[in-house]
Amino acid sequence: MNGGGPMMTEIAPALPLFLGAVLSGFTRGWLRALVMLGAPLLGALGIYQMEPGTLVQAELFGLALTPVRVDSLSILFGYLFHLATFIGVIYALHVRDRIQDVAALAYAGSAVGAVFAGDLLTLFIYWELMALTSVFLILARRTERAFGASMRYLVMQVGSGVLLLAGTILYASNDGSLAFNHVGLNAPGGWLIFLAFGIKSAFPFLHNWLTDAYPEATPSGTVFLSAVTTKVAIYALVRGYAGTEILIYIGVLMACFPIFYAVIENDLRRVLAYSMINQVGFMVVGVGIGTELALNGAVAHAFNDVIFKGLLMMSMGAVLHVTGEMRGSELGGLYKKMPKTAVLCMVGAASISAFPLFNGFVSKSMIMSAAIIENHDWVWLALLFASAGVFHHAGIKIPFFAFFAHDSRFVAEAREAPTNMLIAMTIAALLCVGIGTFPLFLYDLLPYDTGYWPYDMSHVLAQMQLLAFSALAFTWLKLAHIYPPELKSVNLDAEWLYRRVAPDAVKKIMTQLTSVKELASKHTLAALGMAQRGIARHHGEHGLLARTWPTGSMVLWVAVLLGLSLVLYYF
């Protein structure tokens, strides 16, 4: 505890956001706006007053817990989530939907709680809270598709929590400590916890919850979603699995395969969802390399990704808000009516593509340099490929198909996005350029002091050449009509297994079981019928055993029986 005595926010850094969530459920009008905007500001102020090294400890059923642990890593992510919430709240101010207000603040609060959790049990609780609160941002779209996606999302997210709990129990049963520090794969339960983090980081084959659910959420809901879950997962990987070599290869895969899907995907927010996996891939590589430079790069890139991916998601959300359409095949030409949104979108596009002077450049180059320094030549080449690819699909494709290309039917009726959306996007755009131009503001927050500086002639020239020739490739392919057009379609991904193959298999088995059941019931009914007829024959009203006999014949028969037994007895 610091000298001034414990502040409320030091005991519970997530408290302002949770209180905001509760209050936003009861307030309306300007009071609601005040609560929604005040909660992240108050929370950020609380973090500003925190002392690194603070531990808040508690005991529950004999378990030593650390609900709050303050260090540079948790502070950085704490700031990040408050910043993202503040921007997201401004973006969503025009929305009149209490469910989304409450869910967004509670979701952000859970994320803040998670990054300050000092033990695995506390982490687990916030981990599951994130799942339960965020699902309402998808449900709030109130479409059948969103409902289906949200249920699949919930299964994956809660499943991740279950794995985390199982891993925690195994981990704690070893030496009785629940403290959340480096875990590693060799620790008991290490693989389970790794997998739990892996689901939320969207590891390959576990990634489809993201591309499935994020594009189905509400315009503002996706902004919150894209800022939080995967970044908490990266935080958890940095804390628990830094330097785990397999992460390098997982990360390379994540950086490379989604860009192919992004090129042929039609839903522009789904393009951004694939692009998000690609960016998280860079971070995962950084965690896997595990040197101070690489970890700084992973954390810094998570920070920047929240801002530029948030900006891109916001610009696409604005297009969706104005036109009600998100398919690239149906959009185009909107720069005529939404020029401000178009320019802001292009700032986000330049940032994610890592143009010098934009924030993606100052963090991604750290990871690339770390890969070279550690002699991961092939990893470096793969990341270079992914860098060119990200410019191609997120940097060019998103703005091109939404705002340029051909004039769509929406151009006549479209109008500029609401002012509050424009303000939120402008803040994010200023941050993109601000951090890109003055990276020390971000570097000072990073966990390690590596003295890294991204701006030298070789770096800048290399990146500019890579990007310019990527743009040239796009232009040539487009002019030569080689570039694949946007088509109304879905593309099969790993989710095909659980959205089509498995349900179809179950259906097939059920159909076969039905025929077995029918056969069985037919024979059973036949057997029962025979039995029934038999009983009826013997016991029915004319049956042998149901006839009424005269008393005399009864006596006669009894006499016969008695005589028979006497004869038998005699022998």
Binding site: W380, L384, F385, A468, F469, S470, T475, S489
Partner: protein, 88 residues
């Protein structure tokens, strides 16, 4: 009146200008390789034209492979909404 308004890229000259500027930028950036001495972290970075070539080839390959992939994975928009196992 607003229907009559000419926007930036309604004039094909502006589109051509953008394309030509890009080509010019590419020529200049590639040319800088010959002038500036690069002190890269990796030996391949010193090869003249490495980054321009890599960027161009990577993107063309990406698009061509993605086009091929589309043949394999593309389905109708309502693929997952349709009922029944046999209506592919």
């Amino acid at each position: 009146m607003s229907e009559k308004r000419k926007y930036l890229f309604d004039n094909p000259r502006n589109t051509r200008l953008v394309v030509r500027s890009l080509v010019a930028a590419c020529v200049i950036l590639a040319g800088l390789d010959l002038v500036l001495h690069r002190h890269g972290e990796h030996p391949w970075e010193g090869v003249i034209g490495f980054y321009p070539l890599y960027g161009f080839v990577a993107c063309v390959l990406l698009v061509l492979l993605a086009k091929e992939m589309r043949k394999l994975v593309k389905r109708d928009e309502d693929y997952y909404e349709r009922r029944g196992p046999d209506d592919d």
